[in-house]
Symmetry: C2
Amino acid sequence: MKEVAELAGVSRSAVSRTFTDGASVSARTREKVEKAAKALGYKPSLIARSLATNRTKLIGLVANNFQNPAFLDVFDLFTSELQKRGFRPLLVNLSGDTSPKKFVELLKQYSVDGVIVATSTLPTSFANAFQTAGIPVIHTFGKYQANANVHVVGIDNEFCGSMAARTFCERGYKKVALLGGPETATSTQDRAAGFVGTSGQLGLEVAKTCFAENYTYQSGRVAMGEVMEDRSVEAVFCGDDLICMGAMDAARAAGKNIPEDIGFLGFNDIAMAGWDAYALTTIRQPIRDIIMSSVELVVGMVENPARSPEIRLFPCSVVERGSLRPVSRS
Amino acid sequence: MKEVAELAGVSRSAVSRTFTDGASVSARTREKVEKAAKALGYKPSLIARSLATNRTKLIGLVANNFQNPAFLDVFDLFTSELQKRGFRPLLVNLSGDTSPKKFVELLKQYSVDGVIVATSTLPTSFANAFQTAGIPVIHTFGKYQANANVHVVGIDNEFCGSMAARTFCERGYKKVALLGGPETATSTQDRAAGFVGTSGQLGLEVAKTCFAENYTYQSGRVAMGEVMEDRSVEAVFCGDDLICMGAMDAARAAGKNIPEDIGFLGFNDIAMAGWDAYALTTIRQPIRDIIMSSVELVVGMVENPARSPEIRLFPCSVVERGSLRPVSRS
DNA sequence: CGCAAAATTGCAACCGGTTGCAAAAAAATT
DNA sequence: AATTTTTTTGCAACCGGTTGCAATTTTGCG
């Protein structure tokens, strides 16, 4: 920097200002500096800038679900959106370790400008911990709650559960099962509540309620064993497409045809749901919108940390494929 | 930091040294400092340290394949291994943009300590560009070449192609097809070379050679249309599991049974390959070893950048499932 | 106990930028 | 043309650590 200043015949402040937008530099000075910088191949150091401005342009993404294909979209969008805005993505892999303390410390040391906590399997308190530590945070896929003190972007899980119940009714199912994701996840609880509640209202019998241990094909497979103990269930609402595919294969292995003998309704609409071998009818969660909105929000908070907590919920829709019987024309 | 020093009754150097391992501090001083630090909730700022030491502990992962489930493992391992070693993962999403210049600049500004370029679809020159810019770089999934001036970790693609040919022969196939990944990828070229070469030696006829446009189910599906123009091919060697699954579904849609009418051999062994609906026999690439080795190597280079370029190739193996007919007992 | 060697400590400079403030220069006003 | 207002510029302090060097303290040994 000093060299550039000398070559351009100006002060260090001048070169700093040329590379800081919004700073006061005359056109002539800027030109001189830019020429000198090009000649010397100079680019300001982000590290030094971070130290001086107390802003790192680093946004952390904390996730604990690195094995779910749904997260491919998350990673893709998160990184590309941040890059587009001149921020940098720092990934934090929670995988198992669930104590907030440690990670708040970690991210504080990393000096990230903000954090997106992208998981529904962690309690609200996890995201809150960042908030109280003074780190702007978005709880993506988090739980909606009226008195939220943290930004939440995601979907209305309860409503989605309700939507699942209606979907079954429209197709004339009478007796169904719920095969949720991990029981401790707020998303699971909310969907279950919506599903069971609306089923009750519509006269749909929820004969079985089971939960997969985690969001994997394998867990879905084993949990389906439990569902099938009741041989009269006509359709299953699964908490995740992966789980659902495992469940479908378990059903097929037991000799059932889909959707004639048993129907399946998934959740998320991952790429594989569209594959012929599954042709899964599923509730689509608009991950794209959710992530883009989260990024926008977190970047916004960097500018204005005092922004009051918002809840952004996106609508889901069922995408019709072949794993449920068609809507009954009544 | 100053506060900690004052509270502990020592100089700033002393507190710095307590938090720098390998530095010279007496037990008594360290104790005083640690107590003071705890009292004040002090943790050294990584930013400031980076500025002073010219080391950021940031490692970049540049990837252009955010939609392939195989990369879930990559992201998972990359992040967790780095975290374990006290480094931080910075993701760079290439997606389409393939000009090295821009990204070398980007990563130089980010001041990463090292870079892992994880893709086989980029020319060797891409990784080289980092090298010449003075950034330690590993080309993961890169092309092996004797006169390499860049670290490469991956597999022997040519040998794998050869292995595929032998696999077909063992099972008595006579006439097969190659359905590769993107034709410009070095991995595709090398596998094709090995496959075609060994087929020739073994008297296996490669009746068709096609390439999918990218590593997706959909591309595999459409490319399979081309393969099926020749109705006599008995088995297909695919450049990727995703492509293979698309191809399988195209074959099924055309009324073929797997493996009776047509066999499939995939590549990578992604999680879905084990799903009942595909039960894909595939060549397993040890992604876990590859990534762990890459991380180890890049971290090693941070310590000693002059380390001379290494080639680390890991063995692949075919994992037997149900998409090929069994080995013929001759 | 005295002295040399080794270990510890503090000083001060440095890493590479930013920014408040006052001085200088340019532009606008009368 | 003189004066006021606005814009541009440089100075110097600061961000929060590290580290070479010399001074000081501890330790080891005869």
